[in-house]
Symmetry: D2
Subunit: 292 residues, 4 copies
C-alpha cells in the first residue's frame, strides 16, 4: 500500500519507519527537520505526497490552530486546506483529535476522515505510555522511592487504571478515587484503597504524591491546603487542567502539569501503536466497502 | 541520644533530619553547603561535633581517598585521623564501605567501628532504590515503553531480584541470568525467563535493554556484538564494571554506567533506611554490652 | 432500620448477620434449616417478617421457578405472590436476577423492586469470588501447578478481567481472547497474550486449561478436538453454556461446568457485598425520594 | 540412559513418564498398583530393575521406617538392603530425605547416594507447589475470598516467600513474620507488613488466616487465644509442627496440619521437577568423574 504521512512529531517519524519496515511505500511531508532514512521519500508538496496514497495520516493533534497543521518538525507553515484540496474519495484520511467542524468539512466533499484518537486500542496504548511518563516524573521529582510512597490517583479511567497498576507494581501504597460506584467497586477489586472524588476533603494529608487523571477541576485551593508541604502534585488532565495552579504556587507546593507524555517519553511505542491502529482502520474500511 | 553526623551527601542531610525528628540531639560537621534547619546544630570542628555523641555516623563511602573523608557538601577537606583522635571507647562509630585497614586501626585503639553497608536491611533498601534508579534511566533513555520491552537482567542478587520484580510490575518481558543452579531455580519460580550467565553467547539479539547487576566483567565485545543497534546497555556493577565500554563505543551502542543511584534518586528514602539501620546497630550493641 | 430477609442460601444467612452486626433489626423467613443466632428473629410467615420492614431482601436468584421462591434452606415451599400481597409502597424490595414480568407485576401495584445483580459493585464482587472459585477448581483438578500452566481465558468481561489478573498473580502463562478490538487492546495492556475469540481455530493445542467466561457457545467439537488430552475445560457461562459437553465427553476431555461459584466458595464475602450493595440502593432511593 | 525407579507415589509415576518421554529407558519396581503405560517396563525384582541402570531413583521420603522403602503404590514390602545389595559403584543412586546413617552405609560400600531434596532447584519447585496447596486449602476452608483476607505468614524461607507472593497476587492483605533483621528487610522490600516472629504477642487478633511455615513451635496456647474464633490456622511445618493443636482444639479454632502438599496437589509438576533435578545431578556427577 501507499501511505502519505503529513507533519507531526517523532511519533510520526517512527510511524513512517514502521510502515516502511512492514513493506509499504511511504511518502512524507513536513518532517524536513529530521532524517527519515533511505526507504522513505520526502515530497516537495502536500499534493505530491498524497498523489498516489491509499491512506493519508495527519498529526496528533492534527491542527496547531484553526486550519494550521501541527508540524513541529517542519520549517514551514502548512494548512489543512491544502490537504483538503488534494484529498480524494478513494483515500482514507486519518487524523488525531479533530473536531466536528473538520469532520463536517471533509464529509461535505465526500471524503472519509477518521480520528485515530477515538480508537480504543490507540487510547489504551496512549494510557500505558502516559502512565509510564507519569512514573518517570515521580521518580525524577520525588526524593523518596516509589516503593512505600503513599500515592493518590484521582480518576479511574484508562490512565487511572494503567497508572495504579504500575504504581502497585513498584510497591507504592496506592489509593484511587472515582465518582461512580462502579469504578469504586473496581478500585477495591484491584486491591487499592478507594475514595470518592467528590469527598476528598479531610483525606489528603498523608499523601506523598497526588496525580490527577480526571478531566475536571478537582484540586481547589482548599484541597491543596491539606497536602503535606513536600507532596508532589501531578496533573495529567488536558486544558484547562484539574489543579488550581496559582493557589498551589502560593502554598509553595511542587506542581507539574504534564501533557502529551506519550510523544515525549515513548515516541517509538506510540508510533508502533499508531501504525497498528491505522491498519485496523483500513481493514474495517475495507470490510465496509465490501458490504456496499 | 546524641548523634554526630560527619560529612556525606544529601542522604546524610536527610538522615540528620530523621534523627532530629525522632527526638534525638544531632550535631553535624562538613555539611556546610546545605541548610540543615533549626533543630540540627552545626559544629565548628570534628572534635566538637563528636564530644557528646553516643553514636558517630560517617559517610557512605566513608573515604574519598586514603584518610580523606568523603565530604562533597563541605568546602573543606577533612581526615579520618581527626575522627580517630576524637573517638572514645564508649561511642559507636558507624561508617559505610570501610576496608579491613580502617577497621584494624580503630580496633587497635579499642574503638568499635561498624560498616552499615554490611547490614542486610540497609543493603536491601539500597537495592530497591538502585532498581528504581535503573528504571528511571531506562524510561529516560529508551524511546519505547517499559511495557512490552524485552529486558535481560544479568545477576540475581539483591539488585537483580528488586529490579526484575519492578520490570515485571511495569509489564516488561523479563529474562534474568545467573550462574548458580539455585538462582536459576528462583528466576523460574518468579516466572521470568532464565538464562545461564556463562552461556549468554548466541542469545542476546532480541533484547531492548540489558542491565548488568553482577560484580563481574561479563559483556565482552563478542557478546556486545550480538545486541541490536538500539539496545540500551546499563551497567550497575561497581568498578571496574561489567561491560567492555570501549568496544561498546566502537559498535555505536548506547551504554550507561550508573553508580551510587540511591543517593541520587532517593536521598530521603536512603536517609530513612540509614537511620533505621543505625537504630538496629545501636540496639544490638546495647544487647552485646549487657551480655558482658 | 428494619430488614426482612426471605429465603436464599448461606449468602443470605451471612447477609442477615452483617445487617444485625451493623445495628439493624433483622427478621428472616425460610431460613429455618440453619441457626441464625440470637440477634436475628425468625418469623412464622412472610407477612410477619415483612410487616415492619423498611427493606425486604429476596434471594439470588429470587425464583426457583415461576412464582416459587428460591428457598433451599427451608423445608417449605413459598411463593412470590405471598411477598407481593404483603409488600407496601413505602418499602424497598431488593431481589436478585428478576425478569421484566416480575418487575412489571410489582410496578403495577406501585411497589419498587430493584435487582441487586444489576449493580456494578455487586457484579464486581461476584466476579472476584467467581474467579477465586475457578482457580480453586483448577487447583483441585489439575495435576500440575498453576505456576507455569498455560491457560486461556475466553472473554474479557468482569470475570475474565478478575480471573486473568489472579492467574498471572499465581505465575500462570496467561492468554485471553475477546471479540472486540478494544478488549484486545486491554488484554495486551495488562501483559497477557491476546487472541481473537472468533479466530481460535488452530491455536488451542498448547493449553493446560481453557476457561470460558463468555456467555456464548464457543467451544464447538472442532475446537475441542484441538485440545491436549489432559487439558481441563472449565465453563463459567450460565445456561446453555459455552462448551459442546457431549462432544467433549466423546473426546475424553475433562470438562467442568461451574455455576453459582460465589455462594459456594465465599458465602461470607458474598453476603458482605450484598449488604453493602443494599445500603447503596437504600441511600440512592432516599436521594430520589428527597428530590420528589 | 537407563533408569530404575523404585517405589514412591504419583510423583515417581510421573517422573518415570517424563524420563521415558525424554527418550530414556525406564524400568520400575514397586509401582504395581498403577498402570505406567507401554514405554515403561515393570521389573519383577529390585535387582532386575537395577541391573542395567545408570541411575537409580528412590522415593521421597526414601524410607517409610528403618530399612523399609516407602512404596505406597505397591502391594509388597521392600527393603533398602535389597537396593544396597544390587547397587554398583558405577551407578548414581538418588533418594529423597535420607539421613547420615543411610549415606554412611552406602559410602562404606563405595556407592554414591545423593539426596535430591538437598538440591535448591528441587526445593524451590517444592515450595511453589506447597504454596499453591496452602492456597487451595485456604480457598476450600474459608467462607471469605482470599481477596481482602488478612493473612499472616510466619517464616520467610522458601515457602514463606512463595506463599506471600501468591497471596498478594490474589489480593490478600499480607503480613509476614521472621526472626532475622535481614528477612524482615526483604518482607518490607516486597511490600508486605512485617512482624517479628518472637514478638507476635498482642498482634494476632485481626487475622482471617495464620499460616505457619517455620520449622519451630510458635503458636502456643497463649498466641492462639488471641485469634478470632473464625480464623483458620494452617500449619505447614513438618513434625512435630508449629501449633499447639490440643490447645487450638479446646479454643474451638479450625486448625489444619498439611504435610507433603506437592505430591498431593501437583504430582505431575513435582515429577517434572524431580526429573530436571536428577538430570542436573547426573550432569554434575559426570563433570566430577571427568575431573578425576
Amino acid at each position: 500500500m501507499n501511505f502519505a504521512v503529513i507533519g507531526g512529531d517523532m511519533r510520526q517519524v517512527n510511524l513512517s519507519s514502521y510502515l516502511a519496515e512492514d513493506g509499504h511505500h511511504v511518502r512524507v511531508f513536513a518532517l524536513d527537520r529530521v532524517d527519515t532514512g533511505d526507504k522513505i521519500k520526502k515530497s516537495e508538496t502536500i499534493a505530491a505526497a498524497m498523489e498516489n496514497a491509499d491512506c493519508v495520516i495527519l498529526p496528533l493533534p492534527a491542527l496547531a490552530k484553526e486550519n494550521i497543521l501541527n508540524t513541529p518538525l517542519s520549517r514551514g507553515i502548512h494548512t489543512l486546506d491544502e490537504v483538503m484540496s488534494a484529498a480524494r474519495e478513494d483515500q482514507v484520511i486519518c487524523a488525531g483529535k479533530i473536531d466536528g467542524t473538520v469532520k463536517a468539512a471533509f464529509a461535505k466533499k465526500g471524503i472519509k476522515i477518521i480520528d485515530y484518537l477515538d480508537r480504543e486500542e490507540f487510547a489504551v496504548a496512549n494510557a500505558v505510555a502516559t502512565a509510564e511518563g507519569a512514573i518517570q516524573i515521580l521518580m525524577e521529582e520525588l526524593p523518596i522511592t516509589i516503593h512505600g510512597a503513599k500515592c493518590l490517583v484521582i480518576g479511574f479511567g484508562r490512565i487511572g487504571k494503567a497508572l495504579t497498576a504500575r504504581l502497585a507494581g513498584l510497591g507504592a501504597n496506592v489509593s484511587a478515587s472515582a465518582r461512580k460506584c462502579s469504578d469504586i467497586a473496581w478500585i477495591k477489586a484491584y486491591g487499592y484503597k478507594a475514595e470518592e472524588t467528590q469527598r476528598l476533603r479531610g483525606k489528603l494529608s498523608g499523601y506523598d504524591a497526588v496525580i490527577n487523571t480526571a478531566p475536571a477541576y478537582i484540586l481547589s485551593g482548599e484541597l491543596l491546603g491539606e497536602l503535606k508541604k513536600d507532596c508532589l502534585c501531578l496533573d495529567l488532565a488536558s486544558k484547562p487542567g484539574g489543579v488550581d495552579f496559582s493557589e498551589a504556587s502560593k502554598l509553595g507546593l511542587k506542581t507539574i502539569w504534564a501533557l502529551s507524555l506519550p510523544g515525549e517519553v515513548a515516541p517509538a511505542s506510540s508510533g508502533r501503536a499508531m501504525a497498528d491502529t491505522i491498519y485496523n482502520i483500513i481493514k474495517e474500511q475495507g470490510c465496509e466497502n465490501e458490504k456496499r
